[in-house]
Amino acid sequence: MTTPAISVRDLRRRYRRPRTSVREPGPVVEALKGVSFEVARGERFGIVGESGCGKSTLMRLLAGLDQPTSGEVQVEGRTVSGLPEKQLGFLRSSLQLVFQDPMGSLDPRMRVRDIVAEPLVAQRLPNRRARVAELLEAVGLGPEAGDRFPHQFSGGQRQRISIARALAPSPSILLADEPVSALDVSVRAQVLNLITDLVGDLGLTLVFVSHDLSVVRHVCERVAVMCDGEVVETGATQQIFADPQHPYTQRLLRAAPSMRRAIAGAGAADLVGDPS
């Protein structure tokens, strides 16, 4: 049996809020309450959940950007959690991120070339110039894009730059955190196509986090549904969308407006399950 790309075991993360009362200590927030799952190599894995469900915390833990309170994260068989930054070199070259905000995820003071080359510089990889040109072409931007600054690009193009940066150290795993949520509908399809193409061509493992069920359904083979710091349901995408087991998943699927159901006559009242 091959080792999974990502393996998460009973992951917990607590934060203590600042105290608000003289007598009691600050309340403890449990962002993750014991999350476990595995992502196979080459799989397109989706994580669905609403704000505050803990999916952002989970992303940061997977990427080794935060430490769990307890539990373990393994990437390609090697433990990530609990390691100091200095020993995370293997993770930085094998796992990369694409973020949601096309404005905020690129340093406005840096040229695109330097942005894309940043992982190469940080990991002391050779042939940067050639590699950057190659990457820009792979994401559909011309080589002249390297000389410009992020604000000279549209939202969709900025996400392409973000993807080029993520691919720079030739990672085997791509974590995409709501990569198309901030994009116009007509541009969203382009970026989704780009991601699925690259993931297919390069044989990457994709972890795709989103609140948008239809996007996850389109992109991913397997889905984990998160609610309130827990994974409430995991399974093959088709199966979960066709026959959700957990009440929360059912509620979530019902609440998402769908063109097909709407044209068939569903109204706003049908999005709300039990009238309360």
Partner: protein, 340 residues
């Protein structure tokens, strides 16, 4: 359900038309942001306005409330039922009297739309006292009515909620408060500008339900602005598709979404129809990116991204259809092959 009872409507009921926008044109500096926008909404009708960034959809909503910047050049006409004058060119004093009474608005960002230093109940009561006239400025009555409204929009413990400050409420709860403010004076037109874009799916569902129920209970007209096609399909009966500051297509939701005629509408629908595309497969796309507001091409605004564009598209396409609420403006409409 029954809590959203409509108040008695004093406005005249002879005509069913609530909003009539004719040839609305907005320029800001050297940018021409809205071109000849024409549409109307009847009583009890729910109309969606679809558009991506730069389409001019939010500008349209601000124009309806007379909240455009002072230096905007506006022409055309906006008539509202029960208001004796044109909203375009009206004095600020007259516009203020209309806002919040005849036309109300729900904005996108619930987190910042409420005054952080004022209690929620007072913010709801304020919109009642502003329009109550000289006799009716009873603060206690307004406050009691505010609690009633908060109850109607489904806030638990409305009495406590009225005394809360906005930061003590969640995003969904705040948006309910904004809806309560908008519905307080039973407006004849409710304008919602991306009211649920910042909300989670399950919260969105409840707020959409609330808006639809609140509007139908009052028999008010609804203009619902969003970029989300499936939300429009769910909430609205009719739809206007905007691109580059123009209405490029209009019609009943089922008609437009089943058989789009304008190439932009067609492309948009195809690109967002994730259900039909094979999982993990390629999606149909519209090439290029959305130009910034005011920098769209002349002639057909969509021709810079359209696969069907020809030389004739450099001229402005005429509106094809029986009326401004039904038709499209495209030289090479989809479905024409079949028809001929």
């Amino acid at each position: 359900m029954s809590v959203l009872a409509a108040e008695t409507r004093p406005k005249d009921a002879s005509t069913s038309r609530v909003l009539d926008v004719q040839g609305l044109d907005v320029r800001l500096g050297r940018f021409h942001l809205l071109h000849d926008v024409t549409f109307s909404i009847d009583r009890g009708e729910r109309v969606g306005l679809i558009g991506e960034s730069g389409s001019g959809k939010s500008l349209t909503s601000l124009a309806l409330l007379g909240l455009l910047p002072d230096d905007a050049h506006v022409s055309g006409s906006i008539r509202l039922a029960g208001v004796g004058h044109d909203l375009v060119g009206a004095r600020e004093r007259d516009l203020a009297a209309i806002r919040g009474r005849d036309v109300a608005m729900v904005f996108q960002e619930p987190m910042t739309a409420l005054n952080p230093t004022m209690r929620v109940g007072d913010q709801v009561a304020e919109v009642i006292t502003i329009h109550a006239g000289r006799g009716g400025r009873d603060k206690r009555a307004a406050r009691a009515r505010a609690v009633e409204l908060l109850d109607q929009v489904g806030l638990p413990d409305p009495g406590d909620a009225a005394r809360a400050y906005p930061h003590q409420l969640s995003g969904g709860q705040r948006q309910r408060v904004v809806v309560a403010i908008a519905l307080a004076n039973d407006p004849s037109l409710l304008v919602c500008d991306e009211p649920t874009t910042a909300l989670d799916v399950t919260v969105q569902a409840r707020v959409l339900d609330l808006i639809v129920r609140g509007v139908s209970a009052r028999d008010a007209a609804l203009l619902f602005i969003t970029h989300d096609l499936s939300v429009v399909a769910t909430v609205c009966e009719r739809v206007l598709v905007m691109y580059g500051g123009r209405v490029v297509e209009a019609g009943p939701v089922t008609e437009v979404f089943r058989r789009p005629r304008h190439r932009y509408t067609q492309g948009l629908l195809a690109a967002s129809d994730l259900d039909s595309a094979a999982a993990g497969g390629r999606l149909p796309t519209i090439r290029g990116t959305v130009p910034s507001a005011g920098t769209f091409p002349d002639g057909c605004v969509f021709r810079s991204r359209c696969d069907h564009a020809t030389e004739v598209c450099a001229t402005e396409p005429a509106w094809a259809g029986p009326d401004p609420g039904n038709g499209f403006a495209c030289h090479h409409p989809a479905g024409a092959e079949r028809a001929s």
